[in-house]
């Protein structure tokens, strides 16, 4: 399949939008307490078959606990977890149809690569020749056939990861759980492995759930992401939905870079919201349906790349335009990030693609510039 953009392949695969689609994994009001502390707090979530789903959040947000509850290493304090229509309560991990790829890989050090991959199959009681055939298939899939007889300590980090992957896929589980799969890899290896993982998932037609704190990993790999914090899910959506339509300041800030302009609602009707951002001294008009009412305090969230920077003033300065002074410039080669300080003292970040090959750029430190944006380039957030 030809690839046109980084990220999940453009496809019509969107069972979450299909009302007739049957949920594959369901969390129904699941809470997990450790003593007084609620690691997972009344979470309900639906994951569909063949999804590549990501649980994203900082450490301590509960994402790992959720994964461990699917695998069976922890039981919910209350609520149910359903897998393919079956309640998993009381089912020990060695009887569940899920398999996990551990963050530390957890390869059995006293067994060869072959024996590691064959381990799960032996537990099933598969006949020896079938096991050998499946192991060979798996090793070919991860390109480790010549290393079959080696022991884990004789392999590099990247190779160990592949063995872990092959081992966890050998039983063709209904769902594969991946715990921070790319964390231990260096940058180049990480990029290669990202594509391999998504290709593998589509080819095998399995459901993958990954747990990560790395937003880039989640955005690249997942069909849908659940952004979590403090044991709760803040937002679930596709990477594009999460990025362009965050539902809260937390999500807007967690993924990528964001500018937040605080202000009061002047009017909200007909799909247009007018905000008075005192402090920044700007009037913002946003194309948005919002539950906020006149007088409410809201935030205008706009991404740096959606803001235009110019030395010349726009034709209409009264709306969606602010003046400021360039405080700092982060030159990254392909883009320049302008940190613009407003009269109120607040700083707005604006990113500009360096589309032309210039060594000396027209806008430099301490220049007075105008920042402008389109009415549909940001969202209004009430929390």
């Amino acid at each position: 399949m030809a690839r046109t953009a980084v990220g999940p392949v453009q496809r019509k695969f969107a069972p979450w939008n299909d009302p007739a689609a049957k949920p594959f994994i369901e969390f129904r009001h699941v809470t997990k307490r450790f003593g007084d502390f609620a690691a997972v707090d009344d979470i309900s979530l639906t994951i569909y078959e063949r999804e590549f789903f990501a649980l994203l959040g900082p450490s301590g947000c509960g994402k790992t606990t959720m994964m461990r509850m699917i695998a069976g290493f922890d039981e919910p304090t209350s609520g149910e977890i359903m897998l393919d229509g079956r309640n998993l309560a009381g089912v020990p991990p060695y009887k569940r149809p899920s398999n996990m790829m551990f963050q530390s890989y957890a390869l059995f050090p006293h067994m060869s690569v072959e024996a590691n991959v064959a381990f799960g199959l032996k537990q099933e009681g598969m006949p020896k020749d079938q096991i050998a055939a499946r192991v060979e298939e798996m090793l070919k899939m991860v390109k480790l056939t010549p290393f079959a007889k080696r022991k884990p300590h004789q392999l590099s980090g990247g190779q160990r990861q592949r063995v872990a992957l092959a081992r966890s896929l050998a039983k063709k589980p209904k769902v594969l759980l991946l715990d921070e799969p790319l964390g231990a890899l260096d940058r180049k290896l990480r990029e290669e492995t990202q594509f391999e993982l998504t290709d593998l998932q589509v080819d095998l037609g399995l459901t993958f759930i990954i747990v990560t704190h790395d937003q880039e990993e989640a955005m690249t790999l997942a069909d849908r992401i659940a952004v979590m914090n403090h044991g709760q899910i803040i937002q679930v959506g596709t990477p594009a939905e999460i990025y362009e339509q965050p539902n809260s300041k937390y999500v807007a800030d967690f993924i990528g870079n964001i500018n937040l302009l605080e202000g009061q609602v002047v009017s909200a009707a007909g799909g247009m919201v007018r905000m008075d951002c005192k402090g920044t001294g700007a009037t913002v008009v946003v194309e948005e349906e919002t539950p906020a009412k006149t007088g409410d305090t809201v935030w205008f969230a706009v991404r740096p790349e959606k803001i235009g920077v110019s030395l010349t003033a726009p034709t209409d300065r009264s709306v969606n335009a602010i003046e400021g002074q360039v405080w700092d410039i982060g030159y990254l080669g392909d883009i320049s990030v302008y940190h613009v300080r407003l009269a109120s003292g607040a700083t707005v970040k604006a990113t500009v693609t360096n589309a032309t090959r210039l060594v000396e750029r027209p806008i430099t430190w301490e220049d007075k510039v105008w920042l402008t944006w389109a009415p549909d380039s940001g969202v209004v957030l009430t929390s």
Binding site: R86, G90, V91, P92, K95
Partner: protein
């Protein structure tokens, strides 16, 4: 779906793993102590067993109560009256405290030297220290008899070097006992000390030096305090067993060496007074119970911390 019987068999296996060693220790470690306590309240008689009352369960509650009423505290009263005993306790405690201190004094430089040795030598050094520990305790104590005797190797050496003109009487004195204890228990102190010192971050000392602290002060203010867990572990490993030590005072000590382990042995085997020996054991146990509990708590906490 988890089957009922599977869950039950899982639970049973899990329970057995704990229950079997637990039961073993209850029956063969705890119950014997209870029996010692009971017999310490009994009276010696000629016969088998050489004490009375014996608890006869077949007689029912009535005979049990009658037996209980025959228990006496005579043995304990005797212990307080006869000077031999309380002197033995005090002497044992004193010898144990003094030798713990001496063992620490001698072991610390050795453990420190080992910790500072080049990394390549360390496993070998540790093995060299452990080797005598694996060799028989009895043998090592015995070795000193040949050295410390009146006509032993030490006296021979000193006489031939004309450092003395009369052989030194060392064997069968308290001096020999101290030498024997220090010799036998040094590995027990060196190993925990070494473990604590080896873990010490060298950059701490570099930082101290950089801030102007001379080596000796750095040692007392940084190295030694950080090695205290090792000092404590080693001290318990020496003090508690030495208090009840038998072999060393028996083979190397003399008539004036009063150690309670020897006293207990003599009471039991020579005098056949089992109730009295039991009372001696109970009092010794009471004396040691506090250090033993502290030791156990420390070690358990340390094991958990390193997990």
């Amino acid at each position: 779906m988890a089957s009922e019987s599977d869950g039950r068999s899982r639970g049973l296996a899990r329970w057995l793993v704990l229950a079997i060693p637990y039961a073993w220790l209850l029956i063969l470690f705890l119950v014997p102590f209870l029996i010692v306590i009971k017999i310490s309240f009994s009276t010696p008689v000629i016969g088998q067993p050489p004490y009375t009352p014996t608890f006869d369960v077949s007689g029912g509650i009535g005979s049990l109560m009658a037996s209980l009423r025959q228990l006496v505290v005579d043995n304990y009263i005797f212990l307080t009256k006869d000077a031999l005993y309380w002197k033995s306790y005090l002497s044992s405690l004193w010898i144990a405290i003094a030798s713990t201190f001496l063992v620490l004094l001698f072991s610390y430089p050795i453990a420190y030297g080992m910790a500072r040795a080049p990394r390549a030598w360390q496993p070998t050094l540790v093995m060299l220290i452990i080797l005598p520990f694996w060799t028989s305790f009895l043998i090592r104590v015995y070795a000193w008899i040949g050295i410390l005797k009146k006509d032993g190797l030490l006296n021979e050496l000193l006489l031939s070097l004309h450092l003395i003109d009369q052989p030194l009487i060392i064997l069968n004195t308290n001096w020999a006992v101290y030498i024997g204890i220090i010799y036998s228990y040094m590995p027990f102190m060196i190993l925990p000390l070494y473990a604590a010192l080896e873990r010490l971050d060298n950059t701490l000392l570099e930082a101290a030096s950089d801030l102007g602290s001379p080596p000796l002060r750095s040692f007392w203010q940084i190295t030694f305090p950080l090695s205290i867990p090792g000092v404590i572990a080693g001290s318990f490993l020496v003090f508690i067993p030495v208090t009840g030590e038998f072999v060393i005072p028996d083979l190397l000590g003399g008539h004036t060496t009063l150690m309670i382990g020897k006293t207990l042995w003599d009471e039991f085997f020579a005098n056949r007074d089992w109730p009295l020996a039991s009372a001696v054991a109970v009092v010794l146990l009471v004396l040691l119970v506090v250090p033993i509990v502290i030791f156990q708590n420390q070690e358990q906490k340390r094991a958990e911390r390193e997990g």
